[in-house]
C-alpha cells in the first residue's frame, strides 16, 4: 500500500525519546498527550469525588471539615470540566479530524503543541491551590462573588489557571476550525464530512465565542479583589448578579461544548454497528447548529431564583424548552438508525446505546428544570446534581469511552479485550445509575447540594449513592488496565477494524502512518 511507503519515507523524521513529546508538532502525538492528560485528571478529579461520597455516606461530619469538603466539590468540578472532559474531546479531535478529512496534520502544528503544553501547567497551578494558605477555592466552580472573593492565597492562582485553560482552549479551537475549513481532501465537501468533524467545527466556534467571555468575567473578579474595581459590589454601583450573567453566558455554551463532540462520536459508532447509513445526516447537522445557536440565548435559566424580571424568567424558560426540539431530532435519528439494522453489540456500541438512553434521562430532567416555577423547588438541590451528572457521566464520559474503544484498535493496531471491555461497560452502566439515580429523589425531597452534612431522612439514598460511587470509581481502574493491555499488545487489528465502519480513517493502516495523508485522498 502507498501509505506504507510514505511511512518509510518519513522514518528518519520520526523522533525518539522523551523530548519528542515536548517538542512534537504531530497531531497524533499531541492527541495522545491530550488523552493521557485527560485520563490523569479524570482519576484526580475522581479521587476528589470519592472524598465527597465518603463524607456523604452517613449524616454528620466524618472525615473532612466543611471547608475542605467545599474545596473538594469546587476542585472536582473544575478538574473534570477543564481537565478531563474538554481535553479528552480535544485529544480525540487531534487524533481523528486530520484522518477523517484526509489531511497530513493539523493546520497549525506548532500552535497545536502550545495549546497542549499550557494545560499541564494550568493543571499544576490549579491543583497547587490545595496546598496554599487558606486552602483550595471552596466557593463552587462557578466562582460566584462575593463568596469566591473570600478565597485565601489560592484566589489569584484560581483566576490565572482559568486564564491559562482559556488560552489553551481558544488556540485549540482556532486550530480545529482552520484545519476543517482549509485542510479537507479534494471532494470532501462540507456536507460529506463525518458528523464528528461537524460537531467539532460547531464546538470550536462556541469555544472561541465564550472562552474570552469567561476570561473577562474572572478578570473582573481579580480586579474587584485586588485593584479596587466595583463590578460586583453594589455599594459602588455594581451588582454580584452581573457576574452570574457573564459567567453563564459562557457557562451554557460550555455545557454544549462538552456534549456536541459526544453527539458526533455516537453518530459515528451507531451506524457502524447497525450496519446502516446514519438516518437523517443533514438534519443532524442542522440540529447541532440550532443547539449551538440557542445555547447563547438561554443562560439565565441557571439563575431563575436569583432575581430577574418576570419577562426575563419567561423568555429564558421558553428559549430553553426550544432546545428540546433539535435534541429530540438527534435522539430520534439515532434510534431510527438502529431500526431494522443488523446490529451487533461490541463495547463501543454498548456505550453508545447507553449514551442515548441515559443522556436522554439527563435531558428530560433538564426539561423539568427549564420550567421557572418548578425550578424554584429544584434549584441548588441534589436534583440538579443528578441532572448534570447524567448528561456528563453517562453522557459525555460514556461517549469518550465509546470513542476510545472504537478507535483504539486504529490508533494502536491492537484489538482491546472484548470480554473485559464488556465487563467495564456493564459495571459502569449499573453503578453510574446506582450512583446518580437516587440523587434525583434526594433533590426532590429537598437535600441541598454543596453541604457536607444532611438531615437523617436522606441517609438511605445517600448510602446507596455512595456505594454506587465507590464501585463506579473502582471500575475505572479496570478501564485503565484494559488501555494499558491494549497499548502493549493484543490481537492485530485489520485496517478497517470494524466490518461496518466507513470513513477515511479506516483506509489508513492500523496503526496509521506518522503523517496521516501525505498525498490527499480523492473523496467521491
Amino acid at each position: 500500500m502507498s501509505t506504507a511507503t510514505t511511512h518509510d519515507a518519513h522514518h528518519e523524521e520520526h523522533p525518539k525519546g522523551l523530548l519528542r513529546w515536548v517538542f512534537t508538532t504531530n497531531h497524533k502525538d499531541i492527541g495522545t498527550l491530550y488523552l493521557i492528560f485527560a485520563l490523569t485528571m479524570f482519576f484526580i478529579g475522581g479521587a476528589m469525588a470519592m472524598v465527597i461520597r465518603a463524607e456523604l455516606f452517613q449524616p454528620g461530619l466524618q472525615f473532612v471539615n466543611p471547608q475542605f469538603f467545599n474545596s473538594m466539590t469546587t476542585m472536582h468540578a473544575l478538574i473534570m470540566v477543564f481537565g478531563a472532559v474538554m481535553p479528552a474531546f480535544v485529544g480525540l479531535a487531534n487524533w481523528l479530524i486530520p484522518m477523517m478529512i484526509g489531511a497530513p496534520d493539523m493546520a497549525l502544528p506548532r500552535m497545536n503543541n502550545w495549546s497542549f503544553w499550557i494545560l499541564p501547567f494550568a493543571g499544576t497551578m490549579l491543583i497547587g491551590t490545595l496546598f496554599m494558605q487558606g486552602g483550595a477555592p471552596a466557593g463552587g466552580w462557578t466562582m460566584y462573588p462575593p463568596l469566591v472573593l473570600q478565597t485565601g492565597n489560592a484566589f489569584p492562582f484560581l483566576i490565572f489557571s482559568v486564564h491559562l485553560l482559556g488560552i489553551s482552549s481558544i488556540m485549540g479551537a482556532i486550530n480545529i476550525i482552520v484545519t476543517i475549513m482549509n485542510m479537507r481532501a479534494p471532494g470532501m465537501t462540507m456536507m460529506k464530512m463525518p458528523l464528528f468533524v461537524w460537531t467539532w467545527l460547531i464546538t470550536a466556534y462556541l469555544l472561541i465565542a465564550v472562552m474570552p467571555v469567561l476570561a473577562g468575567a474572572v478578570t473582573m473578579l481579580l480586579t474587584d479583589r485586588f485593584f479596587g474595581t466595583s463590578f460586583f459590589n453594589a455599594a459602588g454601583g455594581g451588582d454580584p448578579v452581573l457576574f452570574q450573567h457573564i459567567f453563564w453566558f459562557f457557562g451554557h455554551p460550555e455545557v454544549y461544548i462538552m456534549i456536541l463532540p459526544a453527539f458526533g462520536i455516537v453518530s459515528a459508532i451507531i451506524p457502524t454497528f447497525a450496519r446502516k447509513r446514519l438516518f437523517g445526516y443533514s438534519s443532524m447537522v442542522y440540529a447541532t447548529a440550532s443547539i449551538a445557536f440557542l445555547s447563547f440565548l438561554v443562560w439565565a435559566h441557571h439563575m431563575f431564583t436569583v432575581g430577574m424580571p418576570l419577562t426575563g424568567e419567561l423568555f429564558f424558560m421558553y428559549a430553553t424548552m426550544l432546545i428540546a426540539v433539535p435534541t429530540g431530532v438527534k435522539v430520534f435519528n439515532w434510534v431510527a438508525t438502529m431500526w431494522k439494522g443488523s446490529m451487533t453489540f461490541e463495547t463501543p456500541m454498548l456505550f453508545s446505546i447507553a449514551f442515548v438512553m441515559l443522556f436522554t434521562i439527563g435531558g428530560f430532567s433538564g426539561l423539568m428544570m427549564s420550567m421557572a416555577p418548578v425550578d424554584f423547588q429544584y434549584h441548588d438541590t441534589y436534583f440538579i446534581v443528578a441532572h448534570f451528572h447524567y448528561v456528563l457521566v453517562p453522557g459525555a464520559v460514556f461517549a469518550i469511552f465509546a470513542a476510545v474503544y472504537y478507535w483504539l484498535p486504529k490508533w494502536t493496531g491492537n484489538m482491546y479485550d472484548e470480554k473485559l471491555g464488556k465487563l467495564h461497560f456493564w459495571l459502569s452502566t449499573i453503578f453510574v445509575n446506582v450512583l446518580f439515580f437516587p440523587q434525583h429523589f434526594l433533590g426532590l425531597a429537598g437535600m441541598p447540594r454543596r453541604i457536607p452534612d444532611y438531615s437523617t431522612q436522606f441517609a438511605g439514598f445517600n448510602e446507596i449513592s455512595s456505594i454506587g460511587g465507590f464501585a463506579f470509581g473502582l471500575t475505572q481502574l479496570l478501564f485503565l488496565y484494559i488501555l494499558i493491555k491494549t497499548v502493549r499488545g493484543g490481537s492485530k487489528a485489520t485496517d478497517q477494524v470494524w466490518e461496518g465502519a466507513e470513513g477515511l480513517e479506516w483506509t489508513l493502516s492500523s496503526p496509521p502512518p506518522y503523517h496521516s495523508f501525505t498525498v490527499a485522498p480523492e473523496v467521491k
Binding site: 515536548v22 506548532r110 503544553w117 489569584p156 491559562l164 482556532i174 474570552p212 480586579t223 453594589a234
Partner: protein, 288 residues
C-alpha cells in the same frame, strides 16, 4: 527535506518555542499571583516569566519569518494563517464584549434597580439613593469625581485612530502597486499616529487621576468600566503599534510582495479591529 517543503502543505517537525511559551506564561502568572498575595519575590518572578515569554515571541516569529522568506509556505498555508488570524480577532471581540456587556448591564439594569427601579432593593439597602450615570454607587466608592471632556482629547484620539486606519490603507495600496517608498512612509505615518494616540491616552489617565478629576479605577462602577475598557483597549493599541513597527521594518527590508503579504494584512486587520473597538468606546463610554 521532505515533500512538504516544496509545493505541499508545510508540517514543521518539532519546535522548541511552544514549551518555552508555556513555561513563560506559567512563571509570569505564578509570579503575578505571588505578588498579589504580598510576596516580595513575586514581581521578580513575574518579570522573569515575561522575559521568557518575550524570548519565545522573538524566537517563534524569527523562525516563521525565516521560513516565510525561504518560500516554505504555499497558498494553502497562507490561507490557514488567514483563517487563524480572523478567528483570533473574533476571540478578542468576545473578550471586549464581556466588558461592554458589564457596562450596559450596569447602565440599563442594575444601577436603575439600585435607585428604585427594583423597589425592594432600594428600600432595604440604599433608601433614598437616586440612580444617575455616571455613578460610583450609593456607597460613594472612591469619592466624588468629575468626568473628562469627551470633545477634547478623546475626540482628537478618535480622529488620530481613524486617520491611522486611512494611512494603513494607503500603505496597503502602495504595497499592491509595488511602491516600497510610499509603503514605508505610510506605515511610518500609521505608527506615529498610533504612538501619538497612546501618548495622549497616558496624559488623559494622568488628568483623570489628578485631584481635579479624582476619576480612578476605584471610582465605583463608572471608574471600573471606564478604566478596564479603555485600559484593555490601550494595551491592544500598544501591542498593535509594536506589531506595526515590526511590519514597517519588514516592509523596508522588502519582505512583502504585491500578491503575498499575509503578515502585513494580519496586522492591518488587527489595527482596524482596535479602531472599531475605540469607536464603540468613544460612543458608549465617553459620549452617551
Amino acid at each position: 527535506m521532505s515533500s512538504e517543503a516544496n509545493g505541499g502543505y508545510y508540517v514543521p517537525h518539532g519546535s522548541v518555542w511552544p514549551i518555552i511559551g508555556a513555561v513563560g506564561l506559567f512563571v509570569m502568572l505564578h509570579g503575578f499571583g505571588d505578588f498579589l498575595n504580598g510576596s516580595d519575590e513575586g514581581s521578580t518572578v513575574m518579570l522573569a516569566g515575561f522575559a521568557i515569554l518575550l524570548f519565545m515571541v522573538f524566537g517563534w516569529f524569527r523562525t516563521v519569518i525565516n521560513e516565510s522568506e525561504a518560500g516554505t509556505y504555499n497558498m494553502q498555508v497562507d490561507k490557514s494563517f488567514r483563517w487563524g488570524m480572523s478567528w483570533f480577532i473574533f476571540s478578542e471581540v468576545m473578550f471586549f464584549a464581556a466588558f461592554f456587556g458589564a457596562l450596559w448591564y450596569a447602565r440599563v439594569l442594575s444601577v436603575p434597580w439600585l435607585g428604585g427601579g427594583d423597589p425592594g432593593t432600594n428600600e432595604l439597602l440604599w433608601k433614598g439613593w437616586e440612580a444617575t450615570w455616571p455613578t460610583n454607587g450609593p456607597g460613594n466608592v472612591g469619592g466624588a469625581f468629575t468626568l473628562l471632556d469627551p470633545w477634547k482629547i478623546p475626540a482628537l484620539n478618535t480622529l488620530l485612530l481613524l486617520s491611522s486606519g486611512v494611512t494603513i490603507t494607503f500603505a496597503h495600496w502602495a504595497l499592491k502597486k509595488g511602491n516600497r517608498g510610499a509603503l514605508v512612509l505610510w506605515m511610518m505615518a500609521t505608527v506615529i499616529l498610533g504612538a501619538t494616540f497612546l501618548g495622549f491616552q497616558i496624559h488623559e489617565y494622568g488628568e483623570a487621576y489628578s485631584e481635579h478629576h479624582n476619576l480612578t479605577l476605584g471610582s465605583g462602577i463608572y471608574g471600573s468600566t471606564f478604566f478596564m475598557l479603555t485600559g484593555f483597549h490601550g494595551l491592544h493599541v500598544t501591542l498593535g503599534t509594536i506589531m506595526l513597527t515590526v511590519i514597517t521594518l519588514r516592509c523596508a527590508k522588502g519582505h512583502f510582495t504585491a500578491d503575498r503579504h499575509f503578515g502585513f494584512e494580519a496586522v492591518a486587520w488587527y489595527w482596524h479591529f482596535v479602531d472599531v473597538v475605540w469607536l464603540g468606546l468613544f460612543i458608549f463610554v465617553y459620549l452617551l
